[in-house]
């Protein structure tokens, strides 16, 4: 974006030499197609990306279409995760749109014989001062194979008209009228239906299957048995379900050698861990006078994603190549891992994203995709639809890992925080498919069950801000602090990314502990926070939410029934959006959240509505996690198999 030279970084995730038409196309009717690698997960990202493109190109919002995300045509933008879609894909698209607009203007200037500076653009029509004009449609043939240069500046904020407004979620109309909207609804001529018979518990080995009896059931096309991977394929979905029910009842599994699953978070403290200093600071002076210390331990159970619709995928093997439809968050990573397991080059696997039910991180989507591909191999030429059962979704999707945080603080005689120590125990939070995964490993569930078994990779913790360390460093400025990460390499159960990763427990712990300190020192919880917050934007969200909730007293009632409010604050990943939340709770025989307030500073907001919707959903989900959710085990079996267990 700077004029200075070649070494300036390009916007978002743009790569030098990337072609404009890899991201944007002008259709013959003058409408715009935007290409992104970021997938729609119900977060409204495609609406926001369309807003950015429409604004930069001066076309109405409804003239921009976002192309389906497909490994055969979309840019590889990695996983759609960690709130990075706007800063990566959005920034890239804005830059590309600016360069495409420039190309259109150059072309129009030549045609009209008018200097570029005298042209104006409105709703996809370029006009000269004398009234002559050219539509984008008539310039649709311009050469966009040229590379991105980074030499055109996108519009300044004052000239934007769509960014910052709330774009309508176009998909909602189809969803409220019951139109096919999800991969679950995909129908392909000749498609067959499959169900996978998952092991009853971790480590179970398949001993016997009634293959003949199952094969003889009505509509059953194939019984697939490969190691511990057992599945039935039938013409009709209800026939597949009937075969699944029978196979679950009659197949024999050896569960004898399985170890009990230590799902209790405090088990992490006993497991072997790698300890690393994340960050420390010392003022060198040491406190003067008496220091009182305060300690607390916080933990979080394993949490299931538990999307309302269980995972689903459709795959077909045709002409030696696979096509897979999936609600995965990372279709390129998935393609690599599928190709590994299927034993073919990535080019022979095409992965197409379709929406699924809500996605809050790495759920069973990728696993279902491998299930479908493995089964498609048994019935070449026919599309296979695999639908996970509800109880399997709970039992086998990767969980958000359990964690423990121990905090201690040193308080001087005036109640000031002079020292802060944070110790966090957590497995890695990234068990996702990866493009650098070696062939003998696989992140995909069925690959661990095949006769030629792939090793389950350790969840990664390599990224500095990833996993258990995320948001472990408080934004509060203390004179001395020490943040220590205890990485537990072997998790008790299958774990991976769940919304905000380790930030959930780290922030919960930090904020709860601040309240413990406030109570111990008789300080006002808001005042205490503001005393240690230096960053003006951080202070602003805390003050804003405190202001809104001011009418509600901090605490009323006593004994068995109290009502009050509590505040939490964080800056996501310590470098993204600032947020403060206040909730009013009623604590009697049970804890009820009566109201919540939120204040967010996310920098430039593309879709205000999208941001507010996400924040509201995040608050609701976090309340549910805190009050109701914990994955339970019974021996080596996951006992949580529904929302009520």
């Amino acid at each position: 974006m700077t004029a200075s030279g070649l070494d300036a970084p390009l916007a978002g995730n743009l790569q030098l030499g990337e072609r404009l038409d890899a991201r944007l196309r002008i259709e013959a009717d003058g409408s715009i197609t935007a290409l992104t690698g970021k997938v729609e997960l119900g977060q409204g990202i495609h609406a926001a990306l369309a807003q950015i493109v429409a604004d930069e190109l001066d076309v109405p919002f409804d003239r921009v279409r976002v192309a389906p995300v497909d490994t055969s045509s979309s840019p590889n933008e990695g996983t759609t995760a960690a709130s990075r879609s706007i800063e990566e894909s959005g920034a890239a698209l804005r830059q590309v749109a600016a360069e495409v607009r420039q190309a259109l203007l150059e072309s129009a200037a030549a045609e009209l014989g008018v200097p570029i500076g005298e042209l104006s653009v409105d709703a996809g029509v370029i006009s000269a001062p004398d009234g002559r004009s050219i539509r984008y449609a008539s310039l649709a043939g311009i050469d966009l194979t040229r590379p991105v240069t980074g030499q055109v500046k996108p519009k300044p904020a004052r000239l934007r008209s769509l960014i910052g407004r709330s774009a309508p979620r176009r998909d909602l109309v189809a969803k409220v009228t019951g139109k096919p909207s999800y991969v679950q609804d995909l129908e392909i001529p000749g498609m067959v239906h499959a169900r996978v018979v998952r092991p009853p518990s971790y480590g179970a080995e398949l001993r016997s299957v009634e293959v003949d009896a199952l094969s003889a059931m009505p509509g059953v096309v194939q019984v697939v048995c490969d190691g511990n991977f057992l599945a039935v394929i039938a013409e009709q979905e209800r026939q597949a379900i009937a075969a699944l029910t029978r196979a679950r009842r009659t197949s024999v599994w050896d569960t004898g050698r399985s170890e009990p699953l230590k799902v209790d978070p405090r088990a992490l403290l006993e497991m072997s861990s790698e300890t690393a200093l994340v960050e420390q600071r010392s003022d060198g002076a040491g406190p003067s006078g008496r220091v009182t210390s305060l300690e607390a331990e916080y933990s979080r159970q394993h949490i299931a994603h538990a999307a309302v619709g269980p995972s689903c995928a459709v795959a077909v093997l045709d002409d030696g190549g696979y096509t897979v439809w999936t609600h995965s968050q990372g279709i390129f990573e998935l393609r690599h891992e599928l190709a590994n397991v299927l034993g073919m080059p990535s080019e022979n696997v095409r992965v197409i994203h379709m929406e699924g039910a809500g996605c809050y991180g790495h759920n069973g989507a990728d696993d279902a995709a491998l299930d479908a591909a493995l089964l498609a191999r048994s019935v070449p030429g026919r599309a296979v639809r695999v639908q996970w059962a509800r109880d399997d979704e709970f039992a086998w999707e990767p969980f958000g890992p359990a964690q423990v945080v121990r905090l201690s603080a040193g308080l001087d005689e005036r109640g000031a925080i002079v020292d802060w120590q944070h110790d966090g125990w957590s497995p890695g939070h990234d068990g996702r498919p990866a493009e650098d995964r070696p062939a003998e490993e696989s992140a995909l569930l069925a690959a661990h069950d095949l006769a030629v078994r792939r090793r389950r990779p350790r969840p990664r913790s390599r990224l500095e801000a990833n996993g258990g360390r995320r948001n472990a460093i408080p934004l509060y400025v203390f004179p001395n602090y020490r943040i220590v990460d205890h990485y537990v390499a072997e998790a008790a159960v299958r774990v991976s990314a769940l919304r905000s990763l380790g930030a959930h427990l780290n922030v919960f712990a930090i904020e709860s502990f601040m309240d413990e300190i406030a109570t111990a020192t008789g300080a006002d919880p808001i005042e205490l926070r503001l005393r240690y917050l230096v960053d003006a934007r951080a202070r602003a969200v805390v003050e804003a939410v405190a202001d809104r909730a001011r009418a509600t007293p901090f605490q009323t009632g006593d004994g068995d029934h109290v009502r009050g409010r509590g505040i939490g604050f964080a800056r996501y990943k310590n470098h993204a959006a600032y947020a403060a939340a206040m909730v009013e709770v009623d604590v009697g025989t049970e804890v009820t959240v009566k109201r919540a307030w939120g204040a967010i500073d996310a920098g430039m907001v593309v879709s205000r509505e999208g941001l507010v919707n996400q924040a509201e959903g995040g608050i609701t989900q976090a309340v549910s996690w805190a009050l109701y959710e914990a994955v339970q085990a019974d021996g080596s079996r996951i006992a949580t198999r529904g929302w009520n267990t």
Binding site: K175, Q236, R238, I241, G309, P310, Q387, T620, W643
Partner: protein, 162 residues
């Protein structure tokens, strides 16, 4: 689930979204799969198969019921309304419009069932309180956390109708 003999297939008739409908299928085939696969109506979604999440809710003679554990014979001769039958000939149902206006949904997977529950609620109680709405939506799970918006949307639709 019962293993079936294909020989037991029989024609079962009911009223679907206001029109006559006859399906020849095993009599204990579950309504959800008949709707989705035999009749091509994908609007009722599969969430649990146990009647616990509400994603597959339909109206049977005006009463909201999960269709995933409802055998087809149970609706013989009855009126079945799915999300596809909610839309009036002249446009969206006020509830559908209100959900769009309030942005009441993230992934939207739960919305068909929620709209069906809401429609039944407004039929019997055109001016529900928030508590009435919460009670009526008790059988519906939304995992994205659109609850507050859903309540606002139902209130808006009720307000528009009254």
């Amino acid at each position: 689930m019962i293993e079936r003999d294909p020989g037991t297939a029989e024609a079962i008739s009911f009223v679907l979204n206001g029109g006559g409908c006859s399906v020849t299928v095993e009599r204990d085939a579950l309504l959800l799969y008949v709707l989705r696969n035999d009749l091509g109506l994908k609007g009722s979604r599969f969430g649990c198969g146990m009647g616990l999440c509400g994603a597959c809710m339909v109206l049977v003679d005006g009463r909201p019921m999960p269709s995933c554990d409802l055998p087809l014979y149970a609706v013989a001769g009855k009126r079945v309304t799915t999300i596809e039958g909610m839309q009036a000939a002249d446009g969206l149902h006020p509830l559908q419009q209100a959900f769009i206006d309030e942005g009441a949904g993230q992934c939207g997977y739960c919305l068909s069932g929620i709209l069906i529950s809401a429609m039944a609620l407004l039929e019997r109680n055109p001016d529900p309180s928030d508590a009435d709405i919460r009670t009526a939506l008790e059988p519906n799970i939304c995992r994205c956390g659109a609850h507050a918006r859903v309540i606002r949307a139902i209130r808006r639709a009720a307000g528009a109708a009254s």
